[in-house]
């Protein structure tokens, strides 16, 4: 048999939260430089903002339930959708995925910590304070309806609506400044991750033996380096306009509104891949474990990742098919956008092939991952539809687009975020999450998701544009909007079940042991939760699935890997 007892040491006791030592406990989290604690902080912070952004989404959906509804004023509605978008992308999506990376990547590559633990702490706190500054806008300054001066120009903040002439007050400044702060944090994390992945790998962990999640985080970090920075640069220009009287986006003085759109989407499109690639990474870890098979076509997956990395930098103008580009440049961006579907398709086929012939175990993480694959196929195909530029002239800025990108952001990314939480929760806390509540969470959220976003495609095809706080009653959109809003509430219930599960399992979950899923990557070779030093002795690996090699000494992976 393959049983093997390893003398890897770990703490005998999980540190408990005692009321007596509360200030000490709090202090230990504030001054920590441990990648695991920072990872937890990231995830906790993002989950908090997930709820906040979710509440904003609920308000939006209540407002749109009926035509001519008066739940919120137009001004507040604009603030809500701007803050919803900004929150979900910058305060939920990126931090939570970087949080997972923070926790898992050093463990996966067999390192004691990130390359720069203090920089890691700085990055987290910058991100956190950026979020707080953004939300301070609700109370800072004077505004309509007690909403303060929250940004109200859309998360894309198209110039010249952001110019002082059109948005006096500090709404836009809050948006730009908060994102610059958070952006520096993100940049720091990206640098840290690249350095960790390149320079901190344990003995034997060659690039082509890294788990796919690590590969994808390497790509994401690289992509972050070249995408967050253009946004920061453009926001600095915006602030120069607003504070120093510059003219970058001042159309009265010859400035260009168009160049902002370019700059924003040079950031904005790769940003989608910054968010979705970690989700791919999560799926590439979970699907093999629950299919009980090695990932199908590891090298192709890596190749597809690299292809996506490069192509994603050349597709931004597909957000701009209606701004009046020349036909030739539209054709170029159509081609680039369609081509990126190819490596993405390869990934989907490879996940399918991983499941094919496996022995699928539908624990909650796997359920979320399978739903992810199912929904991501649709998201990808509606993406191809939107890449067909003439059709995009009809669909651009309609609810079809909203449906498409929520299929990516929720159907793919949020589903994988949940999968990841269910998957790594035992490692982080030493306790399992409740399977029963997990299944409830999955099915309720799944139903709510489809109830919300499937009809959104139709309402978009019926010509409903985005960013509108009210709509005419005679366009045939009323019933569908009602259905969408109901779906949103079903999703909210799903999320509440999840939160309840989280709290319950933290206290009463059953003991997990170090390797509850019978998995294969290095993080499962440490106690749960791992000790501060991760590995008492530096691990040495010979294949992509080091734990498989131990569990199956007669049939180790390194014999077969190309």
């Amino acid at each position: 048999m393959a049983d093997q007892t390893l003398p890897i040491p770990g703490p005998t006791e999980i540190p408990r939260i005692g009321t007596a030592g509360f200030s000490e406990w709090l202090h230990s989290w504030i001054v920590t430089v441990d990648h695991k604690k920072l990872g937890i902080l990231y995830v906790a912070y993002s989950l908090f903002f997930l709820l906040v952004g979710g509440v904003e989404a609920m308000c939006i959906r209540i407002q749109l339930m009926f035509p001519h509804n008066h739940f919120v004023s137009p001004q507040v509605y604009d603030e809500l959708f701007t803050m919803h978008g900004t929150t979900m992308v910058f305060l939920v999506g990126m931090p939570i995925l970087f949080g997972f990376a923070n926790y898992v990547v050093p463990l996966m590559v067999g390192a004691r910590d990130m390359a720069f633990p203090r920089l890691n702490a700085l990055s987290f706190w910058l991100t956190a304070f950026g979020g707080i500054l953004l939300y301070f806008s609700f109370v800072g300054g004077f505004g309509l309806y007690g909403m303060g001066s929250a940004p109200d120009v859309g998360w894309f903040a198209y110039a010249p609506l952001t110019a002082k002439a059109f948005t006096p007050g500090h709404n836009t400044d809050y948006w730009a400044l908060a994102l610059i702060v958070a952006g520096f944090g993100t940049l720091g994390t990206a640098i840290n991750l690249v350095a960790t992945i390149i320079s901190m790998r344990c003995r034997g962990m060659t690039l082509f033996r890294m788990p796919l999640f690590v590969w994808l985080m390497l790509a994401v970090s690289g992509l972050t380096l070249v995408t967050i920075t253009p946004l920061t640069a453009a926001q600095v220009m915006l602030l120069i306009d607003r504070y120093l009287g510059g003219h970058f986006f001042d159309t009265q003085a010859g400035g260009s509104a168009l160049i902002w759109i370019h700059f924003f989407w040079i950031f904005g499109h790769p940003e989608v891949y910054v968010l979705v690639l970690p989700a791919f990474g999560i799926a590439s870890e979970i699907i093999p474990v629950f299919s009980r098979k090695a990932i199908f076509g590891y090298s192709t997956m890596v190749g597809a990742t690299i292809a996506i990395f490069f192509i994603s930098l050349a597709v931004w103008a597909h957000h701009m098919f209606t701004v009046g580009l020349t036909s030739v440049s539209i054709a170029f961006f159509v081609l680039a956008t369609m081509v990126i579907a190819v490596p993405t398709g390869i990934k989907i086929f490879n996940w399918l092939a991983t499941m094919w012939g496996g022995r699928l175990r539908f624990d909650t993480p796997m359920l979320f991952c399978v739903a992810f694959v199912f929904q991501f196929v649709i998201a990808g195909l509606t993406g191809v539809i939107l890449a067909v530029a003439p059709w995009d002239w009809e669909l651009h800025n309609s609810y079809f687009v909203i449906a498409h990108f929520h299929y990516v952001l929720v159907g793919a990314i949020v589903f994988n975020i949940f999968a990841a939480i269910y998957y790594w929760f035992p490692k982080v806390t030493g306790r399992m999450m409740s399977e029963k509540l997990g299944k409830w969470h999955f099915w309720v959220f799944f139903a709510g998701f489809h109830l919300t976003f499937d009809p959104m495609h139709v309402v978009g095809l019926l010509g409903m544009p985005r960013s509108i706080y009210t709509y005419p009653a005679n366009r045939g959109w009323n019933t569908l909007n009602m259905v969408i809003s109901i779906g949103a509430f079903v999703q909210a219930i799903g999320v509440l079940i999840f939160v309840w599960n989280l709290i319950q399992s933290l206290r009463h979950g059953k003991e997990a042991g170090n390797d509850p899923w019978d998995a294969w990557t290095l993080e499962w070779a440490t106690p749960s939760p791992p000790p501060p030093y991760n590995f008492a002795v530096d691990p040495v690996v010979r294949s992509r699935r080091p734990l498989w090699d131990i569990k199956h000494p007669d049939d180790p992976d390194w014999k077969y890997e190309e």
């Binding site: 007892t5 040491p9 500090h170 400044d173 702060v181 008492a536 530096d538 131990i550 077969y560």
Partner: protein, 292 residues
């Protein structure tokens, strides 16, 4: 894990491990930076306040790392980690010894596909140009059809215009033709071993006719101008020329005939335990690294 031999080699003495000590300076620096910018939307004093924090944070941080990094000693506690599985048995795809596949995958196959594609592309051009020469007395006719119509900015072009030389159209035609031929070559090399019998018939007859049928069904929409000027019999002849040449080259180079009796999994080129040529060198893990 195999690394038990390394225990306690580098870090500490087996009792404790150096880790960077916790520090409050990063949060102070982050707070200062946020305040510095927050001053822009509140009052100037906040910025000054933030600046003081930044300076304090930088100095404090500096003392953390210089002259040498501050560490804390984390004691190692012995806690056994069990790495085991209840699923020790791994099923195998049943294969007998003579079913070892030949070196069908890898870069050599890709090269064969590329060569087949190029050769097929050249062979295909011959009937196409012949068609132009016979019907319109111009070798450029077929090229212009592909290149001019390919980019879609044709509107009611005359046959005479199609028959004259245009360098842009030639260029575009070459690009489209080249890409398509390479792709189909690669597709052949991927698919042929799965259907190992009569490769030349498959490539040279079945595939071209299928392909022509598919194209015929939607070309009228993809490109009406091209569709209006195309001659389908000649089109099929060109496709067959491609298929025969590409199929011949690929089947020669990849020994497709030898894989006739293999099970489907082997013909599909799966890398599976028991089906790989790595089997024999199990004890030399150093060897595998070079293959990356």
């Amino acid at each position: 894990m195999e690394e038990t031999a390394h225990k306690g080699a580098e870090h500490g003495n087996g009792q404790s491990i150096h880790l960077p000590s916790p520090t409050g300076w990063p949060i102070m620096l982050a707070f200062g930076f946020t305040m510095l910018l927050a001053g822009l939307v509140t009052t100037f004093m906040i910025s000054i306040f933030g600046f003081v924090f930044i300076v304090a944070g930088c100095v404090g941080w500096f003392h953390d790392v210089l002259p040498h990094e501050q560490h804390e000693e984390v004691p190692i506690l012995e806690q056994p980690v069990v790495i085991t599985t209840s699923r020790a048995v791994v099923e195998r795809v049943k294969l007998t010894g003579e079913h070892r596949p030949h070196a069908a995958g890898g870069t050599s196959a890709v090269m064969a596909g590329i060569q087949g594609g190029i050769a097929g592309g050249i062979a295909m051009a011959i009937p196409a140009m012949l068609y132009g020469l016979i019907t319109h007395h111009s070798v450029w006719y077929a090229i212009n059809l592909l290149g001019g119509a390919g980019v879609g900015d044709w509107a009611h072009v005359t046959a005479a215009a199609i028959a004259t030389f245009h360098w842009q159209w030639l260029l575009i035609a070459c690009v489209i033709h080249g890409i398509m031929c390479l792709l189909v070559g690669l597709l052949f090399v991927a698919m042929l071993p799965m259907l190992p019998r009569y490769p030349v018939v498959l490539c040279g007859l079945v595939a071209p006719i299928l392909w022509s049928g598919i194209i015929h069904s939607f070309l009228g929409f993809v490109n009406p101008e091209l569709s209006a000027h195309i001659s389908w019999p000649w089109f099929v002849v060109s496709q067959i020329a491609f298929g025969v040449v590409a199929g011949l080259i690929i089947s020669r180079q990849t020994h497709i005939h030898t894989s006739k009796h293999l099970p489907l999994a082997a013909r599909m080129g799966f890398v599976i335990p028991g089906m790989t040529h790595h089997d024999s060198d199990a004890g030399t893990p150093h060897g595998e690294k070079e293959t990356h």
